[in-house]
């Protein structure tokens, strides 16, 4: 018990953990509220929820068939009313409108009568929408009954086909098994209700990412901090053996993780209930259409309980796996890399492997799949294991069992038997001998050289830079040439080769000449088509030749003409000479959302890895007493550390962003850069004459500002936390979670700010970033200067 309580105290006395917990809790709840209620569709449905619930209650009191019939008639009536309204307002010819009305009256008199009443009372599109929603919900009752009752007949029908009826194949076994797994749902009652709250609450993903970070933080605190602080020798010297310590640590980890999970998800449920309402919790979960394929027979409340428990168990399993990694791997850098690779790989496998790929086992035996509880519990799926269909939920239980039976004991065993001190590497003697021959130590090194050595050699940042350099080489040599798919694209590109740049009188003459050419060509085509003097074969030959030109060069010119009209209007608006810009090349440079996200996220990951140890290095190696005793004060030291960090920052930034730009210039030249951005496709709303090169510089400044803030924050954390792995974990959460949110939302890109003419936001971002960077740098400086070693 004392061991348990001391482990709890270790965790709760870690201020960082408490701060992160509180912060993430607030971000989670507030994030859920804002992200869901800012969605226009959800907002609209929410605004109609009262009316919806009132009408729902009315219809629930009716007989089901009567309700469905009334709703269908109303649906038709609303449609008629809506059509009459719009036709009356749009069509001037009243006799035509009357004819349409008469048609409705004769085709469906009952619905027409209801439509008349609706128009009399005042047609309301909101009511129409509510009615349609209710119609869908009520017709789902029969749909579901049919879905379940016809499962067996669908199976029989499928087995009549030879592709599915070969015994001992997965297809056959799956078709046999599925109806059996759904058989117990035959008597499930479907009750329509308000489903938005349940669906949004259970599918909110930000909570998962925040909890992942907290789980890592718990593992760092309990399994890594003591090793970094040199206290492992102390805690492993126990009279009763180390197993007790190991069990206590693991027990605390699991209890805390379970508690955190419960806390976080309960907060989401509470916000969901307050904002949207969760509806009648006693109806069957299958009443929610999104859970039609759920084979668990329970109420909505029961499903939520299972959902919560499943989340807790999954996070506990993740905690066990992370704990094992922290116990096994003594090096901080390596631990971070392994965990980053593991989670990235799982993420990529889950999101990018197709459901029917031969690799789909990796997609569905996957941490992120298990975190997606609605898919795991709410959507029945079998995987092929040597032709046997195995349900993914069963596999999940096997995974949990493995964690308990295998990973838990391994954690205890490795914690107990591992040596306290790192042994020398296999080649460390050899490398030391080489180093001594190569480098002769001649007195004291300068602070700058010393910091560089600590940073690049001891902290292995040089390896990271080498990795980024390799990335840069690939980016430099990547073939980014445009592959033309058809003559129209080639024609457009050829026209733009001629027209790109400012619109001059010569270019306008050229356009007029081309327009005349195509007008004459079209006239010739018409005359050939109507000619009676030439043979059919000759006609075909001539028309084919003309059509070839029109289909390629002609279509290319149409695009040019559209662009011409657009740039003239934009030029007039901005009071500058219109410019032709190649849309294909321009969009590749300015609106590649994936490239922007990938490069920036990679940059941030590298910064997290490289800078987290700048101020933590001496604490890890117990040299803080040494370096803090400086004759001229600590100021020079902290400035030097900043300089080294800045050097790394500059090198990595250059290696990530420059190669693509060089490659682009080598492939497409520099002509495009001097053109105003407003003349590029989708940027017509821009009310500035900023050129493309200026826009790129501005975008780069935003990237630099944001990443500098991230870098300053990482250095700040490194100084405050005095521990590299902790700094890595916290800075990952603060920097990469927003990146994940941005990843899923293609609209959140810097170039979108140009498109929406919101340059002021970019300026604001830069200013705020400068302020924050300066603040973090000052705080770090003052803290380092003022601290006692």
């Amino acid at each position: 018990m004392r061991l348990l309580s001391s482990e709890f105290r270790k965790l709760f006395s870690n201020r960082l953990f408490i701060i992160c917990f509180a912060l993430f809790f607030i971000v989670n709840a507030v994030g859920f509220y804002f992200l869901t209620s800012s969605n226009e569709m959800y907002k609209y449905e929410l605004s109609l929820s009262n009316s919806y619930n009132e009408k729902l209650a009315e219809y629930l009191k009716m007989d089901k068939n009567r309700a469905i019939s009334k709703l269908s008639n109303l649906k038709e009536a609303y449609q008629i009313a809506s059509n009459i309204q719009s036709e009356s307002s749009e069509i001037a010819d009243t006799s035509y409108v009357n004819a349409i009305i008469e048609q409705y009256r004769t085709e469906n008199p009952k619905a027409y009568e209801m439509a008349e009443e609706i128009i009399e009372d005042g047609f309301n599109s909101d009511d129409m929408y509510v009615n349609e929603l209710l119609c869908k919900k009520f017709s789902y009752i029969d749909e579901y009954k049919k879905f379940i009752s016809e499962m067996q007949s669908r199976k029989d029908s499928q087995l009549k086909f030879s592709v599915f009826s070969r015994p001992n194949t997965f297809a056959y076994n799956n078709i046999e098994k599925t109806p059996q797994d759904f058989a117990h749902l035959n008597d499930v009652e479907i009750t329509p209700g308000y489903d938005l709250g349940i669906v949004l609450t259970t599918s909110f993903q930000l909570t998962d990412y925040l909890l992942l970070i907290l789980v890592l933080l718990v593992c760092v605190t309990l399994f890594s901090l003591e090793r970094d602080n040199g206290l492992t020798v102390l805690i492993k010297s126990t009279s009763k053996g180390r197993q007790h310590t190991a069990f206590s640590k693991l027990a605390v980890t699991l209890l805390i993780v379970a508690g955190m999970t419960l806390f976080f998800f309960m907060s989401i449920l509470s916000v969901g209930q307050l904002v949207f309402g969760l509806g009648d919790l006693n109806r069957s979960i299958q009443s929610v259409p999104e859970f039609m394929n759920c084979t668990i027979k329970c109420s909505v409340l029961g499903y939520l309980v299972i959902w919560l428990v499943q989340k807790m168990l999954t996070f506990c399993a993740i905690a066990l796996v992370s704990a094992l990694l922290f116990i096994l791997i003594k090096s901080t850098n390596l631990t971070y890399i392994v965990i980053a690779i593991l989670f990235s790989a799982e993420f990529c496998l889950y999101n990018f492997v197709a459901p029917t790929s031969p690799l789909n086992h990796l997609k569905y035996i996957n941490l992120f799949y298990y975190l997606n509880s609605n898919e795991l519990i709410g959507n029945y799926l079998n995987l092929d294991f040597f032709t046997k269909p195995v349900n993914t939920l069963s596999l999940y239980f096997v995974f949990l069992l493995l964690c308990i039976i295998v990973i838990l004991p391994l954690c205890v065993v490795f914690f107990s038997v591992q040596k306290q001190f790192s042994e020398k590497g296999l080649f460390s003697n050899l490398s030391e001998r080489i180093r001594r021959k190569v480098h002769i130590f001649s007195g004291s090194a300068s602070i700058f050289k010393g910091e560089c050595f600590k940073h690049y050699v001891s902290s292995k940042v040089l390896l990271v830079i080498a990795f980024v350099a390799v990335f840069g080489i690939f980016a430099l040599n990547d073939n980014i040439n445009i592959v033309y798919q058809n003559g129209e694209d080639v024609a457009y590109a050829t026209y733009l080769n001629r027209l790109e740049g400012e619109l001059t009188p010569d270019k306008e003459k050229f356009i007029d000449k081309e327009q005349k050419y195509f007008d004459e060509l079209n006239e010739e085509k018409i005359s050939i088509e109507s000619s009676t003097t030439i043979t059919e074969d000759e006609k075909t030959t001539q028309l084919t030749a003309i059509n070839n030109i029109l289909d390629t060069r002609g279509r290319g010119f149409e695009r040019v003409m559209l662009q011409y009209e657009t740039i003239k209007a934009t030029g007039e608006k901005l009071g500058i000479t219109p410019c032709f810009v190649n849309y294909t090349v321009g969009s590749r440079l300015m609106t590649d959302s994936h490239r922007e996200w990938i490069l920036f996220s990679l940059f941030i990951v590298i910064l997290v890895f490289a800078l987290s140890g700048v101020f933590a290095y001496e604490h890890k190696h117990r040299m803080s007493y040494l370096i803090c005793s400086a004759k001229n004060g600590k100021g020079k030291l902290v400035v030097t550390k900043f300089l080294v960090a800045l050097l790394t920052y500059s090198i990595v930034y250059t290696l990530i962003y420059l190669p693509y730009m060089i490659n682009f210039i080598a492939t497409f030249g520099t002509d495009i850069f001097s053109n105003p951005l407003a003349f590029l496709e989708n940027f017509q709303n821009l009310e500035s004459t900023i050129t493309i090169s200026q826009a790129i510089i501005l975008e780069a400044l935003v990237h630099i500002a944001l990443s500098m803030t991230a870098g300053a924050f990482i250095l700040f954390l490194s100084n405050i936390l005095k521990n590299k792995i902790t700094a890595m974990v916290v800075s990952t959460s603060v920097t990469l979670i927003p990146c994940m949110v941005v990843y899923f939302s293609n609209d959140l890109r810097i170039f979108s700010l140009f498109m929406e003419n919101r340059l002021w936001i970019m300026i604001l971002i830069i200013i705020m970033s400068i302020i924050l960077s300066t603040l973090f740098a000052l705080l770090t400086y003052r803290n380092f200067i003022g601290k006692q070693a």
Binding site: A171, I175, T356, V483, N497, R553
Partner: protein, 410 residues
């Protein structure tokens, strides 16, 4: 006694096997093996981009309709989505049978092949050749290419596809926009080696095009069109045959030197169309299975089209229905409805029938299938797959042939 019994059983067995071998429905009739060979379904020529959306397998057919792949059982002619999940509604991308926007499908040796475009944000980023297992449970990418192939087939374990590479640089003028290099590449479907350049259209450059790719036996057949390289005033129109063993390329021409093209398989021989006329009719030639020794075979009126299914030859008046000028020499050409005459390989008339006024816009005839005509099309109700049972040949006598529905979307 025992020996005599065994002998009788053996003789009976051999006889039965022998009978089975003559059935054209067998995978291999001595020339064409529909399981491994190019199974290009011919479609009505009036559709400029007629789709090969039906393909034959050992036990039935696969057909593509409404972005969903269907399997049609040969013995019952009933269709089902190619999805082994009884709990699936087959209405979204999670369905195993969902293939998206795909034009052609080919069955070859246990797999169904199709091509899909890769791309993000509606921007084209290459094409992926995909293969799907016969029961639809697995899909994987065979090959990715950054181009959009003009034509492709699967033949004897290899993927053949034509690609056009436009020649564009800063010096490209408006008259040069249609300059392109055309290639045919091959790639083994088991990914056992790299992409191989099979043919480069050296003699054409402007308006260059390789099309109508098909294969029979050891030969690849295709159509070459374009303006001569280095002399873009000279038009090149050729029908070529590429021998896959020794890579020799020869033109397919009639004895009088005219181009013959578009081979179709008919009972051990290939039927080519030509631009030649005899007595005002279009001439068709027959050759041996290797495309050699062309001889005159059949001629048709203007507005008529010929298609073969390996056993029968069909003369179809579909083009005539849409032509303004008819040659008024034959009843079928002047009919106001879709009319088809059926002949065997000796040009004996077997039957004739009408498809009535409600006829499909495209119809897919498989190279070796004596069982059914498969029609995939679209009517007011949506996509449909229906078929006509060829066992009724001999009894139709010009009447409207009744169709059976294998599938009709709702």
């Amino acid at each position: 006694m025992k020996k005599a019994l065994i002998s009788i059983i053996l003789i009976l067995t051999v006889t039965l096997i022998g009978c089975g071998c003559n059935d054209i429905n067998n995978e291999y009739d001595g020339h064409y093996n529909y399981i491994t060979d190019c199974q290009l379904a011919k479609a009505a020529l009036l559709q400029p981009f007629a789709k090969c959306n039906v393909t034959k397998c050992e036990t039935g057919y696969y057909a593509l309709a409404s972005k969903i792949l269907y399997y049609i059982e040969g013995s019952t002619m009933q269709a089902t989505p190619l999805c082994n999940k009884p709990n699936c509604m087959h209405n979204d991308e999670s369905c195993n049978a969902y293939v998206g926007v795909v034009d052609d499908i080919f069955y070859s040796d246990g797999y169904i092949y199709y091509m899909e475009s890769a791309g993000v944000d509606h921007e084209f980023e290459g094409s992926s050749f995909m293969k799907m297992s016969a029961d639809g449970s697995q899909k994987e990418e065979v090959l990715y290419t950054e181009y959009s192939p003009d034509d492709w087939i699967v033949h004897k374990g290899k993927l053949y596809y034509c690609v056009k590479k436009y020649l564009v640089d800063d010096n490209t003028g408006l008259d040069d926009i249609n300059y392109a290099d055309c290639y045919i590449y091959s790639y083994p479907t088991d990914k056992s080696s790299d992409v191989n350049e099979v043919y480069f259209a050296e003699e054409i450059e402007k308006n260059a095009q390789i099309s109508s790719l098909t294969a029979y036996g050891d030969n690849l057949y295709f159509h070459l069109y374009g303006m001569k390289r280095y002399n873009d005033k000279i038009e090149v129109v050729k029908s070529l045959k590429l021998n896959l063993s020794d890579s020799t390329v020869t033109e397919t021409v009639s004895p009088s030197g005219e181009q013959i093209s578009g081979p179709m398989y008919l009972d051990g021989m290939l039927i080519f169309s030509s631009g030649e006329e005899e007595d005002g009719k279009h001439l068709y030639y027959k050759t041996d299975f290797d495309g050699n020794n062309p001889e005159k075979f059949i001629s048709t009126y203007d507005g008529e089209n010929i298609i073969c299914d390996g056993k029968y030859l069909y003369v179809d008046n579909y083009i005539a229905l849409n032509l303004a000028n008819h040659i008024e020499n034959d009843d079928s050409v002047n009919k106001k409805e879709r009319y088809i005459k059926v002949y065997d390989s000796d040009l004996n008339k077997v039957d004739e029938f009408s498809l009535g006024s409600d006829s499909a816009k495209t119809w897919s005839i498989l190279p070796v299938d004596d069982k059914v005509f498969m029609f995939c099309g679209k009517n007011n109700d949506g996509e449909f797959i229906f078929y006509y049972d060829k066992s009724e040949f001999g009894s139709l006598n010009g009447t409207v042939w009744d169709k059976e529905f294998a599938y009709q979307s709702k």
